[in-house]
Amino acid sequence: MGSVTTFQSEAPLHPAAAEFLGDAFARGWADPSKIHQESRKVALLLNEAKEVYCQHLALRHEQINFLGEPSLGFHLGISGLITNDSTLYHSAVDRSEVFAVASAIRSEVLPVDITGQYSVPTGTQSDLITYQSINGETGIPGVVPNNFAGKVFIEASPLISLPQKWSSALWDARSWNGPEGLGILGIADKGWVNPLPHNDSRVTPGSFSTPLAIAGAIALENYVSDFNAHESKIRALNAKIRNFLLTQIDDVDIAGDLETALPHLLSFSLLYVDAQLLVDELDKSGYAVDSGSACNSMNMQPSHVLAAMGLLTHGNVRMSLRADHSEMEIDKFLSTLKDLVLKIRH
């Protein structure tokens, strides 16, 4: 087996966080709410982790809720703000979890144009709108709902500052190479009510792993500083790929442009190319990529994000770029890609 260059979205846990977790699980773990020495030490560590989240996610201590199941945060964050008078507005490129929550309440989908933009309605005070700070497939930022009269739920990223006005915000630790199984739900709205069966309407489930919460903070600190240090390099790699696609391969549909999109994500579709075949052939050549085409998805449906933007859904390739990708690796990848596309199209 040769080495594999991965452009897939799942990045390994940051080494510093992995080291901490290994150590934590080897030593056993005390309950931070008890009052003996080990517990106090754990409580202290958890408190320090909260400080990191406060600083990097711009949250106040009392706004932080850890979740053991990040995707539950869509229901908690959205349904917890909905009243009988509310309409939920969400964009056509929101995650499927948002569509799932929306299907149970009065809601309206906001259609997007080919650049991923949409117009924000005015709404009323009891309405709710979602704001996706970065689209996870295309890297395109959502539209900040500045003039919306109602509440705002954010699918948040540590790379984009929270807007001035927000009601609830959800982060998944995997978005900063943190551990799986850790979500952070920020709640700013005093009117939020736990939508799950509850004993205390103000409290989220609270079933999370303390070691993961601490490891997530370690990963977050490292991710943000790495991103800031390497953003220009990653942007240059992204620009190089886009330029190659536009000049060296015919009939390529690239999502968004680099002026507005975050540089670590890239999605493009190749006309007349079977994505499953291309992904398999790239894999055999030592490259792992993701795809939003129907043949690569579990339910055989094309990516709703590409379809909503009016972009080609077949022949889709999705890449995540990281600082440890070298320019030479990208060059080799692009030449392999070009050969394969010519071969598949023949």
């Binding site: 085409s293 094309p302 009016g310 080609l312 022949g315």
Partner: protein, 65 residues
């Protein structure tokens, strides 16, 4: 002409459509693949051709160049 691609998965209907339009000016495409509607829309934009959606599975496609 009528091009029946029902039962075929993406990108085959679009490939067959492009092939048929090399000799035909107007093609009626029948396809039940869920990717066909978004893909025929994107294909028409990218290649400068046009189509009319008759129903969920029927598309009248016209070669424009």
């Amino acid at each position: 002409m009528e091009l029946d691609c029902r039962g075929m998965r993406c990108p085959i209907p679009i490939i067959k459509l492009a092939h048929a339009l090399k000799t035909e000016a107007i093609v009626r495409l029948l396809s039940d693949d869920p990717a066909t509607l978004p893909d025929i829309t994107a294909w028409a934009r990218m290649t400068g051709n046009s189509f009319t959606r008759i129903n969920n599975e029927t598309f009248d496609v016209k070669r424009e160049n």
